[in-house]
Amino acid sequence: MEVADILIKFGLIIVIFLISLLVAMYSTYAERKVAAFLQDRVGPNRAGPFGILQPLADGAKMFMKEEIIPTRASGLLFIVGPSLAIMTACIGSAVIPWGQSIEIAGRVIPLQVTDINVGILYIFGVVSLGVYGIMIGGWASNNKYSLLGAIRAASQNISYEISMGLSIIALLLVTNTLSLKEITEQQHGFWQNGYFSWNFFKQPLGFLIFMVCAFAETNRSPFDLPECETELVGGYHTEYSSMKLGFYLFAEYINMFISSAVMATLYFGGYNYPFMDWVAAHAGSNISAILGVVILFGKVFAFIFFFMWIRWTIPRFRYDQLMNLGWRTLIPLAIANIVLTGLVITFLK
């Protein structure tokens, strides 16, 4: 690889990293604003116009707060927990195709950090590593309620990862590839060869299962058991304070961003949009690619909004209901979806 290529990759990594952080930062603000609007309130409006400096103020507060480490907590692991959580959240973005390739001065720059041919498996691997952050955090706190919370969160993540994986298998039967880039390319445009090209129209049930599991994996609303301090003593982050807690919460928002991007890529055509060929022919491929990136981010933001919308609509599941839904509804449904997809592919193609 040439030096220039390495520099380009490096730049891309930095840019995507910064964008993830920025989106996560403003998700906290957007969450509060959306919550306020859904409840006929105003929301944060003190810091800057419309309160847009609120995330900075929150960040400053988090860093300034006193850091409390329980006396008999295991020192190193207590710090490793949140770092792992945020690290695993960040590295998932590496395989997501953010757009078509851009051509600058004869050099083709793919807007994807790396197109490995096991893209989805990589994401699944990274997501399951996230459990370590939670588990280690809960264990290192030296608090039985934290440990219980960590076990609860970990078993929730693992349970829902099963049905998530099963729902993906049906999609893989359709696409025949694990590479996210190729999956996106297959959903080219919007209308292709007489049918809608986005996977959502081929796998609506699979998408539903995947989305529910994504909610559970990111510890988002109907499944946000770590957030109910009053009923369940919060959970794995009970003993954390200042920016360590901030990292845990921030990791949740990055996870939300990444899982939105994955959902948009797998099921909603990623950077594809209707009439993209026409745009590419008339305005040039670079313009089309950039428009594609904007479209992808639009889809991602729509998903993030949906996450928040759901949060202020559906009440939290009880733990047994959560397990019931995961094991006795979603897994059979996902398996039925695989069988159904298999039958359709076998007999109709």
Binding site: F37, Q39, D40, V42, W309, I310, W312, T313, I314
Partner: protein, 165 residues
């Protein structure tokens, strides 16, 4: 069991049907309700900039009134203190001296007039009891303070500003 009244109603809990058990229609309905609130006008009042107006019969801080010529109306009769259920009002009466006719309306006036705002329950009985229309609870909310002694309001805080100001 014998019904206690004719209003007894037997609750009939039907098992949920398929769509109810699937939750999704209910969830979609809920999403519809919440999103409709997204576009509604907010009902909050932006407090420091915008203040909500009190109703006309709001009872706030007391004020001791002056008459048309700027003289204090209070004659220290003590009826307000007597009618006060919280015993928040104390006063000391004094005789008007020659040359003070422009300050006090009657021959007797309140040299000291104190209301303990921590005791006051803002019932408005002092207002009703006053035969001289000298006290009204027409002020704002009593401001906060740090010391208990600062809540005993003397004439400096209670008497209306003179007319010519």
């Amino acid at each position: 069991m014998e019904p206690l009244s004719s209003k007894r109603k037997v609750l009939d809990v039907k098992p949920l049907n398929f769509w109810e058990r699937a939750y999704l229609p209910a969830i979609l309905k809920g999403l519809g309700i919440t999103i409709s609130h997204f576009f509604k006008k907010d009902v909050t009042i932006r407090y420091p900039e915008q203040k909500r107006e009190f109703s006309e019969n709001f009872r706030g801080m007391h004020s001791l009134k002056r008459d048309e010529e700027g003289r204090e109306r209070c004659t220290a009769c003590g009826l307000c203190a007597l009618s006060c259920p919280a015993e928040a009002i104390t006063m000391t009466a004094a005789e008007r001296q020659v040359g003070e006719e422009n300050l006090y309306r009657e021959e007797k006036y309140a040299a000291v007039y104190e209301i303990n705002m921590l005791r006051c329950i803002f019932c408005g009985l002092c207002e009703e009891a006053c035969p001289k229309e000298a006290i009204y609870l027409d002020g704002d909310i009593v401001p906060t303070d740090f010391l208990r002694k600062d809540f005993i309001y003397g004439k400096d805080k209670l008497v209306e500003a003179p007319l010519n100001q």
